[in-house]
Amino acid sequence: MSTAGAVAAVLVIAITLYAWSGLADYGAGLWDLLAGDRDSGRRPRQLIDTAVTPVWEANHVWLIFIVILTWTAFGIAFASIMTTLFIPLCLALLGVVLRGASFALRKDAARAGRRHLAGWLFGLGSILTPFFLGAVLGGIVAGRVPVGNAAGNEITSWWNPVSVLTGVLAVATGAFLSAVYLVAEARRRDLPDLERYFWTRAVVMAVVGLAVGLAAAIALRGDNRQMFDRLVSRSIPLLLIGVIALGATMWLARRAVVRGLRVVAAAGVAALIWSWAVAQAPYLLPFTLTIADGAGAPATLRWLLIWAVIALLLVVPALALLYTLDQRTTDLGEDPTTSRPEPDLTR
């Protein structure tokens, strides 16, 4: 594999990691929004809050990694994507800001009204960001981003069936992943009713996701036949693995097997993302700019690979420590002497 190809692979891995962690975060936000009124939604919301708060910021950093990696390694493609898809990217960013603001705010919002507002912003941001990031991906996949400064159509590049369906797919994927995560979290805390609650939602989202994914594929067939053909020929093994893994997730959860549940769900989502990557390779922008043509200076790319290894060596142990601390206790929530008291989930 060429250096540029290796960097592109690192990029796909970063996108996968973001889908696992970041998208799941947004999914939790969606469940928070849909949890219902103050009384009936209280306990699911509290579980979401305690399960997500310690790790959300770390989850979010992958997005910055993806952005930086793209402009350093593939500057031309980055500039083209950022300018043609200016609108959905701004809206995705709006979601990031709303979510971050509400996260910071709700930690300490004592009054109900303020908490309510924070909750709404949290939910809204949780839908905006994955939807529009998905739409951006859809626009790229459909081949609607030409090389140049805002060279593509700024509206139809993302407001088309493939992009919109990919956006919905991203939202559904996040909702599915977070529901699976929360099933396991509820199990760990010994809260059977919440486990059932999120299990139902995981199944619904898996079905919705598969249906939307199918619809997106059909839309792609009409929009960009070449891409569709590549998806169903060279990517078919990965597509099948993805679907099988998602089916296995359902089966494991049905049989109340929590061990390995999250791993299988994550593998399924990864397989689907890689099926896109394999279908699109060797193009950065199908089918006008290849990885080789769009790649930056070889010296920079070599350093980026070294950087990726160092990142792995430094970040993985730290991240492992954080997740271990998170998983070891059931109440890795706020600090009572400096924040409001933690919710009591058992009632």
């Binding site: 083209s80 300018t83 701004c90 910071a104 200076a297 009591d344």
Partner: protein, 465 residues
């Protein structure tokens, strides 16, 4: 490839510059709190553990929560900035991405590690052994420093670009990313900003406790809360004076047009006066008003009134910084504030040396309270000097800002949305910080002897066992 290198003053330039300025000026406030506040927190933590001092531990614990909150908001505004590099300046990232992108990649790792360690530190108060907890927090300031180093490296590269040669097709060749990272301006900018973060965070945190001291809350909690950060800031201040002076003498060779704008040197020559404030008129290339001290500028630059300084008349009109008055005023505001802080630091050193106590005079306390916001103002001014003074170049003498700007249509809309959003974000941050402070004050009254480590009786549930 594309014709964005040829366009002249596109309509997007103004809103794009405004949006970048707005988001950067917002973000830069959180940098000292991300870099220097963890240091203050660890000093208090160490003091608390070594002397078995619950008051110092409580300070460390509370500062860690402030650091956590401001880090979270800084993370959000930092994400916006990383997107804006492409959304607003595709010409920069599209052409030079592989030249100056690597420091951002380093920053990515640093930021990630900091996010993880801050989370562990905050949640560690109740569930890690005290010294283990302290040691896990110890890398935070160094990692934050690495992140700051990277961003400053990218910025100083834009001021003194290195590590490439410009090809005839308008694209860089012979790219050496390491030479780009270690560019000529880096040591100057890095030292200057490093000291600025410690001054800003120190004076800012100290000013909070100075308010309490002035209101008569003269307990050990407020004493330490004032002395630790104020001492750190007071040590950084004279060092900053040396650093700033060194930069001011280096700048005329590296970026002469910027230096002429900062000091409003109108005509090249020797015996340059030092002009404080005043109003520059670009039409006639003259300065009216202000205070002019004969020969001082030449003396400051080369220790002799015969030192030659290039004037604005030597810069071609197309390359003239676009807002000379803003650059000049920002520079003078920064220098004035720095001089006042220098006096304050010396005053403090003298008083503390005599009494070993928080100085009690009301005048001193009022000055100490003002020092916090003023340092932030100085940081903002300094940033304006660097960035506006560099215009019209986004990469000094290589690429104009107008060549880098996006061709997208939505920039006025995004600027409006960003302005409203940041207003909300700022309001939310301040509200939360005030709520924290209020709750902590109530907690102080409620019970003063609570253990800092371990779960607090009464509030915690029994499930942890």
């Amino acid at each position: 490839m594309r014709d964005w290198l040829l366009s002249d003053q596109p309509a997007q330039l103004l809103p794009a510059r405004q949006q970048m300025a707005l988001t950067l000026m917002f973000h830069i406030v959180f940098v000292p709190l991300g870099v220097a506040l963890p240091t203050l927190m660890l000093i208090a933590h160490h003091k608390g553990l070594r002397r078995d001092d619950p008051v110092a531990l409580r300070l460390a614990r509370r500062w860690s929560h402030v650091a956590g909150l401001t880090f979270a908001v800084g993370a959000v505004s930092g994400t916006v900035l990383s997107f804006e590099m492409g959304l607003l300046w595709p010409g920069l990232t599209g052409v030079f991405g592989d030249v100056f992108g690597l420091p951002f990649a380093i920053e990515g790792i640093a930021f990630f590690l900091e996010a993880i360690l801050v989370a562990i530190y905050i949640y560690g108060w109740r569930r890690l052994k005290p010294w283990t907890h302290f040691k896990l927090g110890l890398p935070i300031p160094f990692i934050a420093l690495l992140g700051m180093f990277s961003i400053i490296s990218a910025n100083s590269w834009m001021n003194t670009p290195a590590g490439f040669t410009m090809g005839s097709d308008g694209r860089p060749t012979n790219i050496d990313p390491i030479a780009a990272i270690i560019n000529p301006a880096l040591p100057y900018e890095f030292t200057h900003f490093l000291l600025a973060t410690y001054m800003a965070a120190g004076f800012l945190v100290a000013s909070v406790y100075a308010v309490g001291w002035l209101k008569g809350r003269r307990d050990r909690y407020h004493r330490l809360g004032f002395l630790i950060p104020f001492t750190v800031a007071a040590i950084a201040t004279p060092l900053q004076f040396i650093a700033g002076d060194t930069i001011a003498r280096w700048l005329p060779t590296a970026q002469p047009a910027k230096f002429s704008a900062m000091e409003v040197v109108t005509q090249s020559g020797t015996h340059q006066p030092e002009v404080m404030f005043g109003r520059y008129d670009p039409a006639t290339n003259t300065v009216s008003g202000g205070i002019s001290i004969p020969d001082l500028n030449s003396i400051l630059v080369g220790f002799s009134p015969n030192t030659y300084v290039q004037g604005l008349n030597a810069v071609s009109p197309a390359d003239l910084p676009s807002n000379i008055n803003i650059v000049h005023w920002a520079f003078d505001i920064m220098v004035t504030i720095a001089s006042l802080l220098m006096v304050l630091a010396l005053w403090y050193a003298f008083l503390y040396w005599r009494k070993r106590e928080v100085p009690s005079s009301r005048l001193f306390l009022w000055c100490a309270i003002a020092a916090g916001p003023l340092t932030v103002l100085a940081v903002e001014s300094g940033w304006i000097v660097t960035e506006v003074g560099r215009q019209p170049w986004i990469v000094y003498n290589v690429m104009r800002t107008s060549q880098a700007v996006t061709d997208s249509d939505g920039v006025w809309v995004s600027l409006t949305v960003v302005a409203l959003l940041y207003l909300f974000l700022a309001a939310a941050t301040i509200t939360v910080l005030r709520a924290m402070a209020r709750r902590w004050r109530e907690a102080d009254h409620a019970d003063d002897t609570a253990a800092v480590y371990g779960p607090r009786p009464g509030l915690d549930r029994s499930t942890a066992a």
